[in-house]
Each structure stands twice: as structure tokens, then as C-alpha cells.
Symmetry: C2
Subunit: 424 residues, 2 copies
């Protein structure tokens, strides 16, 4: 077997050599700084179940019913899922939490199935306004009619929404804004719906800003009149790849449970345990984490703008209300040169070409992961400095370790403490 | 915080104590013998990515295009997904392999969306004939009309299928038989479809017996005229919780890719790497594994029948053509007493109440996991002996270790060898 330059193996694959390549890449990943707003780093504590035997198992007996052990092995930890759901409900300020979806898209499919009928209309947000790329096509494949709303800087045009609702037949308004530095005004939408089409449900897919809602930094959609909200749990919320849906309405919860029974079988037990541990671990400091995430995003945006980058927003509005920072680049060549120089030094950025109001290839940055790891003002300033330098030339070999040297305590349990106290 | 008897903590949850409970339960799980046909044990090699940083990451650049690194970090291992897909294609004897579904139900949703239109009819198998519990309701939620077929001992009534197809409007026959000791006759269905409704697609959801198809023990659906087949990858195939879909038809593959783009975003990168490693690791011996799995199932069935259990099937037909063994019990009390005594000794069985042709609570056993771990004839005989004893009284504390002492080499890489050769 030949091993090529960058650790790549030939097509005549030896699984052991591939395992070594994964282990090697994982060691490099451990120190890398990730500025991708759709990713986070699951904590050492929360990742514990992922490598456990529970990864292999089904689990349905959430209530620990002694006569419902169809699938055995979870008896001694059955309560952890319930404890995790309770922590999520407290943070989400919701009576009900459904943690059966196995991803953000799974939560989307489940919500559409639960809150709209085939043949009905579902309204979502145009991709050019930050809506999710998949929603209209997904609706078509599920036999729903799709109508799109524009939403500029978080503001929906009231009369446009009223016009869409007026003819009737709209079961659901699904607010799927993913790419945003301004969060949509849920209350405005809720008011229009109540006036024009009170039977229509309002759902907020908060995948990107879920951690900021749970931390109290972004308005809670339920307080603003939404019937339910949820999304993926691994972006601004530092959990595993799963989905959650929150509501205060018993009938909505029942609709979701019923749809879940039809559309999700195994809810990925290890990931559910991981989500529960992540929720319990971060609950005490979710407010601090959300604030630090946005503070860091604003600081990063400001420092980049000061150094001459074309950053979306301005100092007057603090550039961003979320974890996202958007930076326009001169062209594809500059974008790839920058991204490659950063990647070589262990700083990973996200190139995109579809942020609302942005042209060409641009950076969609996120402060959420480095904040979770303990980045504060100093580290963010140095990180911005590295991005500035990488426009022109390669970064020094110690750049990342120097930036990491500025990190404070992370928002998760120290791995050494975990080893001792969990008896690992 | 108080810790209760069985390692359970009070509601005032300390995440570190919960982590300890998970670690403790995982240690017990390591030696447990699992006889659950819908579960398998991902190998130490294949589980490597699950605990790695790749769990946290998105990955779309399967071709390693130097201009498509929107999400960084996978550069040095991008080829592993492609190598895994190639191994799966070879075992499945298929030109195309879609490994984007994130679960068996995800593969079901994707297939229905790709191969049928809203408003059309999709035919599946009645639950009383072993069909999946969720299929008809799932079809309704996706705006398809559901029609059900009976399928007794793998035999579909030709005239019943012809009658269902004759009025037209059937886009898809979705063969969702999960619970079976006889595999459906795909060729018969294909012949009827070709004669009566040649535009109708035939899909085989082989979730349960996928490993047996890949090992050549069960007829390959593509050879029998199916347009595609697939399912979950963690039952008789010893992989992670994922889904795959195979086809030889370019247009079917394109339909699946298009649906996948709309319905799956992240395909769970760590699990995809795990699936790739599992496929490459088992490929050389998948035939032996499939045969040993069925040999063990037949031996277990025969031994249980000889000891007076009411086992589905008879010696003439070898009881089972799959990994499943069904055992009728006298009633709920006997079922739970048996299951509890076994669980206390570390043997985990699956109680069900819906196997075709079975009444009351019964055992749905699977030989797939213990076979993957190295169980041969002697171990299976002793395992059967343990089930026989557990009808009457508790098992001795060394029962499981004695049975494990009879195991031969597993179908996966030795963990110590893995540590050394992968540089862990």
C-alpha cells in the first residue's frame, strides 16, 4: 500500500491504514480553530455516550416502565434522557420538549408532517432572505404547496405576509431563516397571522440561533406567539447532531408525538444521551455562553472591518445580533488563497456564495465554537489579526497555539476532572 | 446528590455523576450478549470516527475538489467515503450506492420521495405479514396513498398484487418486510409488476437482512428485477446507524441524489466514515459472516425447539432463512420472568407482540451480533442452554463468561492490533 503526500492512501484500501489516517487527522483537529457557524464541538463529557455501547442500541422506554423492556440494556440510565429533556425545557422555557428528531432536517420533516396536511400551503422564507435552501423542494416532495416570503434584515413585509395568508389554505408558516445577522421579528409575523388567518400555525426553525434563544439573547419564539420552535442542536447550541422541538401547547405536542411515531424509529440513543449531558452541563451558564458568543462575533466583525475587510453591517448596529459574521471578498482567487492559508495553519473558515445581500464568494464566520472553547476578547483580536495576515501571506507555525494560549476556561467540564470523577 | 441503588441519580442531576453511570453501564454492556435482531455491535475499528472530531463536522466534498472546500478539515480523509462506497457497491453488486441517508427511516423517506409522486399510490406489506409498522402512516403523511399486500411466509399472492396494480396510479411497490424468517420472493413480485404495470418501480427495504444479501445468502433484489434496494446498516450488516440505497439504473440513482439534496443536509460524517470502515473491514468475509449468522440462527432455533420451546418453523425447513428466530411464550408473566433472568446474567433478548402468525408476547431473537463477535456451534448450544435454564431459575454469575469462552475469532479486527497499527 502506498501512502501519498497528505496522508492519503491508494485505492487498494487497508482499513487499518485508513483508521490511522483518521486518528492522525483527528489529532490535528483537536487543536484546530473552527469558525464555521453551523458547527460546534461536542464537549468531552457529552461525547462520552458516542463511543459507548449505547451507540448500538434501541431505546424506547423513556418512562422506565418495568413492563416495557422490549429492548434491554438501558435500565440503569433510562432516567438520563428525561433529565436532559427537563434541562432543555427549562432553558427553552417550554412545557414540552420533543427530542426524537435525529437531525435538523429530521425535525423539519417531522414538523411539516405534524403541523400541515398534504395539499395545504406552507409558507417559508426565500433563500435570498436567508431561508434554508431545501425547504421549498422538501415541501413539494411531501405534497405541500410552497409559498415564499422575503425577509430583509429580519423584517418581514406585513402586507406581503397578509397577502399570502388571505386566500386561505395555509396550514403553517415555517420560519426557516438560517443565515442571519438579524433574527426575524417573530411577534410581527404572529400578529399578522392572528389577524388574517388565526388557524395557521407559526413554527420557528431556530437551528442556527438555538443556543442564543436558550441563553436568552434572542427573543423566545413562544413568548412572541409562535406555536413551536426547534431545530438542530449542534450550531450555536453546543450539542450533538440531533434535533429538538419545543412547544407550550398540548395539542401541538401530541401532533408532534404522533408524527414522530410514524417518521422516526430509533432516535439514536447515544446522541440523545449526549444531548442530555450537553444540556445539563451547559444549563447553568447558557446565558453567559450566549452573550459571550455574540460579544465575540461583534468584536471579530469590528476588528476585521477596521483592518479593511468588507464586513456586513456597521458599528452602529454592532454588525451582528447572532454568532454569524459575514465578510465579502474580492473574488474566488482571494477567497481560496485566504481559506487555504488559514487551513494550513489550523484555522478553518466557511466559504459561501449565498448570504443575503452578499455577492461573489464570501466568508460566513461563526464565533460559537471558539467561544465554547474559552475564547475571550484577546483571543478574538488575535484571531482577527491572523485573518488579516492570511490575506497577504502564510501564518507562522505557532499562530494557533498562541491564540489558544489566550483562551480562558471553556464552557465545558475539564477533561481531566471528567476522567477522575466519572471513573474513566 | 443522592445515588440510588441501581446507579440512578436523583432528579437534582450532576452531569459528572450521570457520566459515571453511563461509563459503568457501558462496562457491563461490553460483556453482555445481545440477541436482538435489529441491533449489532459496531467494531472497534469502525467506531473510531464516532469519538473523533469528525463527529462535529459537515462534509460535502466527496470528490476532493480543490475548489469545493466550503467546510474544511476533511481534506486528508475525503477519499475514505469513496472507498467505503466502492466496497459497499462490490458487496451489493450494484453500480450505484447512495450512502447519504442518516438512518433506515431516512432511507425510507428518501426512497418514497424519489420514486413516487405526491398523490400516487405506494404499495407496501401489511404489518401482520411482517411489514414495517410505520410505512402506511408515513405514506399518508407524505401525501401518498397507501395500499397493503399480504405476504405469507415470503409468498405474495400474485393475483392480489395484480389487482392492486391494475387500476393504475401505483408509482412504487415498497417491500418493507422487516420481521421474517422467510425472505419475500422478489422475482415473483417483479414479474407481476412487469406484466401488469411496467411503469411501477420495485424497491426492497432489506434493512433486516441487508448483511445476508451482501453476503450472498439471500437473493440480491437487483438480480430479481428490483429497481433498487437498501435500508439501515446496523442489523444483519455490522455497521453504524445509517442508511444506504443501491441501484444499477442511472435514472434511479439521479432521482435518489436529487431527493437526497432536498431531504438530507449533513449525512453525519463520522457515521459515514464508520460505515466505510465497517464495509472495508468485513468485505473479505461477508459471505462467511452471512452463512455463520444463518447457521447459528438455525442451530439456536433447533436447540430451543428440542428443549420444548415453541419455535416458529420446523426442522424440515431449518426454521429460518435469516438471522431471526421467533419463540412463542406462554404469557406475559413467563416472558418477563425469562427476559429479566437473562438480563440479570447479561443476556439481552427482544420481547415483541407482533410477529406474523405469532400470538401473545414472544421472543424475536437474532444471531447476528453474537456471530459477529465470534459465536460458533458450541457457544450457540450453551446460549440455548442458558435460555432453557432461565425459564425455571436464575443463571449462574459466570454464565456469560463461560459462553464467551467458547467464542472463536470475531469478524472484526482485534482491538489490540488496531491500537498498535493505527497508532492509537
Amino acid at each position: 500500500m502506498t501512502v501519498r503526500a497528505a496522508g492519503k492512501t491508494s485505492a487498494d484500501a487497508d482499513p487499518l491504514a485508513l483508521a490511522r489516517a483518521i486518528a492522525d487527522a483527528d489529532r490535528r483537529a483537536a487543536s484546530a480553530l473552527n469558525l464555521v457557524p453551523s458547527e460546534n464541538r461536542v464537549s468531552p463529557l457529552a461525547s462520552l455516550p458516542l463511543a459507548s455501547d449505547f451507540y448500538n442500541r434501541y431505546f424506547f422506554n423513556t418512562d422506565g416502565d418495568p413492563l416495557f423492556w422490549e429492548f434491554r440494556g438501558g435500565e440503569d440510565i433510562a432516567h438520563i434522557e428525561a433529565l436532559g429533556a427537563a434541562a432543555l425545557r427549562r432553558m427553552a422555557m417550554a412545557r414540552y420538549c420533543n427530542l426524537r428528531p435525529i437531525s435538523g432536517m429530521s425535525a423539519m420533516i417531522l414538523t411539516v408532517a405534524a403541523l400541515s396536511k398534504p395539499g395545504s400551503t406552507v409558507v417559508s422564507v426565500d433563500q435570498d432572505s436567508g431561508g434554508h435552501y431545501a425547504t421549498p423542494a422538501l415541501l413539494g416532495r411531501l405534497g405541500r404547496r410552497s409559498r415564499l416570503l422575503t425577509c430583509k434584515d429580519g423584517a418581514v413585509d406585513e402586507s406581503e405576509l397578509a397577502d399570502v395568508l388571505a386566500p386561505g389554505g395555509v396550514d403553517l408558516v415555517y420560519v426557516d431563516v438560517q443565515n442571519c445577522v438579524r433574527v426575524p421579528d417573530f411577534r410581527l409575523m404572529s400578529d399578522v397571522i392572528r389577524n388574517v388567518s388565526p388557524g395557521t400555525r407559526l413554527y420557528v426553525d431556530a437551528s442556527h440561533y438555538l443556543g442564543l434563544v436558550l441563553g436568552g439573547l434572542v427573543d423566545n419564539p413562544l413568548d412572541c406567539g409562535a406555536d413551536a420552535y426547534g431545530g438542530s442542536t449542534h450550531k450555536s447550541f453546543p450539542g450533538p447532531h440531533k434535533g429538538v422541538i419545543f412547544t407550550n401547547a398540548e395539542d401541538v405536542d401530541e401532533s408532534l408525538r404522533s408524527a414522530q411515531f410514524d417518521l422516526v424509529s430509533s432516535h439514536h440513543f447515544a446522541e440523545t444521551l449526549a444531548l442530555s449531558l450537553a444540556a445539563l452541563e451547559v444549563e447553568d451558564r447558557i446565558g453567559d455562553y450566549a452573550r459571550a458568543t455574540n460579544d465575540n462575533a461583534r468584536r471579530l466583525a469590528g476588528a476585521l472591518a477596521e483592518a479593511g475587510f468588507r464586513v456586513c453591517g456597521d458599528t452602529g448596529t454592532g454588525y451582528t445580533d447572532t454568532h454569524q459574521v459575514w465578510v465579502e471578498l474580492a473574488g474566488t482567487d482571494e477567497a481560496y488563497a485566504l481559506s487555504n492559508r488559514l487551513a494550513e495553519a489550523g484555522i478553518r473558515v466557511n466559504l459561501q456564495s449565498s448570504m443575503p445581500g452578499m455577492s461573489g464568494v464570501h466568508l460566513r464566520l461563526g464565533s460559537n465554537e471558539v467561544t465554547f472553547e474559552g475564547a475571550g476578547p484577546q483571543a478574538i483580536e488575535e484571531l482577527a489579526g491572523a485573518l488579516v495576515q492570511a490575506r497577504e501571506r502564510a501564518l507562522g507555525p505557532h499562530t494557533v497555539s498562541e491564540i489558544r494560549g489566550r483562551f480562558g476556561a471553556p464552557f465545558y467540564t475539564d477533561p481531566e476532572k471528567l476522567k477522575v470523577e466519572a471513573g474513566l
